[in-house]
Assembly symmetry: C2
Homo-oligomer: 354 residues x 2
């Protein structure tokens, strides 16, 4: 069987991380990279990563997707450019129409019917018409605050409520994330940014709650979310951002899914730089109430960056093998690390580049 | 759509627990129960459970499977009678040949190719010939020491090693389990029983290690396991068993999967009555080394009895929807609690009783 052929669309921290991971793996090749950043265009993929080419075919980063993604030469296109369904839709459409399966880390794509049911239907149609599938994944949404809770609930005879809490550190992230999460700004500036929509906060609660509710049949009818500043009492300094005492060290997001007046699903997700300075320790927590109750913790939290890169790359065989259409993490087999040859994980009948 | 129709084969603690759970659910009916126990045969299912029949069709427990499982009247047959592939094979064959999908909690059936590759192939053939599927599941093997580790590894770019540790209490279990696990006997009797095979210990390490190794492509070539007595320093008393100081309170099982000389997968599973009396606290622990490392704990451990009942019942829609053949937990979608109508989880094209 030919190696699994992958094109990358977007070569920021996530896209380049996927490339780095793929180059460590067996039975898989990167066949094209598309990125708009002027400093990257025209560069060799290997030079951009600072990695030896080591006999592999040359790949030059291009800003023209038609050069990076050629019909019949690609099994999967990885899209790491946007967070929102509306913004990533045209890219997904293009890739599907080239006959490529698609994995995207756009947060809303983890469960697109939650907020964009029409576009979800449209993507499902396009994928089916082209005999391929499209999947959104990542660490969160994608695993830590949704799929993992779904998986654990399999051991329960009755679920009364779901609480997912992810406490993470923003310290490893770059300047863009610092800005999006309001690190270092005053409380007044935060309130303004929250109102205007300038502060992104976490994108994905509507999707995680929708996924859990549909998977378990919990019948959530109404969704709410809130955004609060995490005000630091001490000066905090991280590599790409800092916050003086009294200013904002990050964002505390919370979300709820209701059935009637009853809160069934709760999400809590405080993100900040240097949480340890005020005795906050990071972790992923899932509390499932019902029979039997299940209380899970992962400490420290699963790394956001590496986790997202891994989830996307590790789902490559799943998206090739999947039935044509729009797929989500709850209708493919469990994700898993791939330490063997990618080709051994792929159904030969589903391979595009033979 | 007709309700999902389920036949139960085996009505001990697990089979009757599944019945109890099913009667709480929507869109699913129990259509037959087969059990050999003379005290149960001829009794009404509802009387045997001490549950109101409440307008449901009568079901009389029979010791003739041909009465409980009738071709065309059953979507899934649940088999809760044996632990080993060789012992349960004929039952599975019979059920598949009646055109029913099969779920069994026989531990070795969670990954039958680990120790019975020929029978696994045979079952796969029979299932395909009848257009149905067969799945082995449970809490362990099935989730706590295998599928959950597989799922978490999906967030890792590289896995170097897997450690699964399940520390549980035997106190809730009955006399059969006390005997199988050597509770209360002397250390000498334990050594004899371990040699002769009279002490069952945990069944499933070969399956859990095989499942993890194949899912991740870890290439385990060799499997070992050990059984040690847990000798209590204090007198311990549980509802169905007890152990004097100096005698055996339970079994400590350990297992390893090697690639060459390297130990890649480690299983540790101490089971005992009243572990708290010597400061042992129960829990499920998974340690994945690699990038990023993941350290998970669930405290207390997921209940063995309820967990197995739930896993089996919650997989009913999955086994109906699955491609025909022998399936395992790593090739169906993630398990999940079913709080809605069972029919909403079933692909109408795959339904047997229409």
């Amino acid at each position: 069987m030919e190696n699994v052929k992958v094109a990358l669309w977007g070569f920021g921290a996530m896209g380049s991380g996927m490339a780095r991971m793929l180059l460590e793996k067996r039975g898989v090749d990167i066949v094209g990279v598309c990125d708009a950043h002027p400093e990257r265009v025209g560069k060799s993929l290997y030079a951009a990563l600072g990695v030896e080419r080591a006999g592999r075919a040359e790949v030059i980063i291009t800003d023209k997707i038609a050069e990076a993604l050629v019909k019949g030469r690609c099994d999967v296109c990885m899209i790491a450019t946007d967070s929102f369904v509306k913004k990533v839709f045209d890219k997904i459409k293009f890739a599907l129409e080239q006959g490529a399966n698609v994995i995207t880390i756009a947060e809303e794509m983890s469960y697109p019917k939650a907020q964009s049911p029409e576009l979800a239907l449209e993507m499902d149609k396009i994928a089916k018409a082209n005999g391929v599938s499209v999947l959104g994944t990542g660490i969160n949404p994608g695993l830590a605050m949704d799929l993992l809770a779904v998986c654990l609930s399999g051991a329960m005879t009755r679920v009364d409520g779901v609480l997912c809490r992810r406490v993470n550190s923003l310290s490893p992230f770059g300047e863009t994330v610092m800005e999006e999460q309001g690190v270092g700004i005053s409380v007044e500036a935060f309130e303004k940014g929250a109102k205007s929509g300038a502060l992104a906060g976490h994108v994905g609660f509507a999707e995680s709650i929708g996924m859990i509710s549909d998977a378990l049949g919990l019948g959530v009818e109404r969704f709410e979310q809130q955004m609060e500043p995490i005000v630091t009492k001490v000066d905090r300094v991280a590599p790409h951002g800092s916050a003086k005492a009294g200013n904002v060290a990050g964002i505390n997001m919370s979300g709820q899914g209701y059935k009637g007046a009853k809160k069934i699903i709760t999400m809590e997700h405080p993100q900040q730089i240097e949480p340890e300075t005020e005795g906050v320790f990071t972790g992923d927590y899932i509390e499932l109430s019902g029979e039997p109750a299940i209380s899970m913790q992962i400490k420290p939290e699963i790394s956001g960056g590496l986790g997202t890169i891994a989830m996307a790359v590790n789902c490559i065989p799943h998206v090739i093998n999947a039935r044509a259409g729009l797929r989500t993490m709850i209708d493919i087999p469990v994700p898993r690390a791939i330490m063997g040859d990618f080709r051994d994980c792929v159904d030969p009948d589903k391979k595009i580049v033979r």
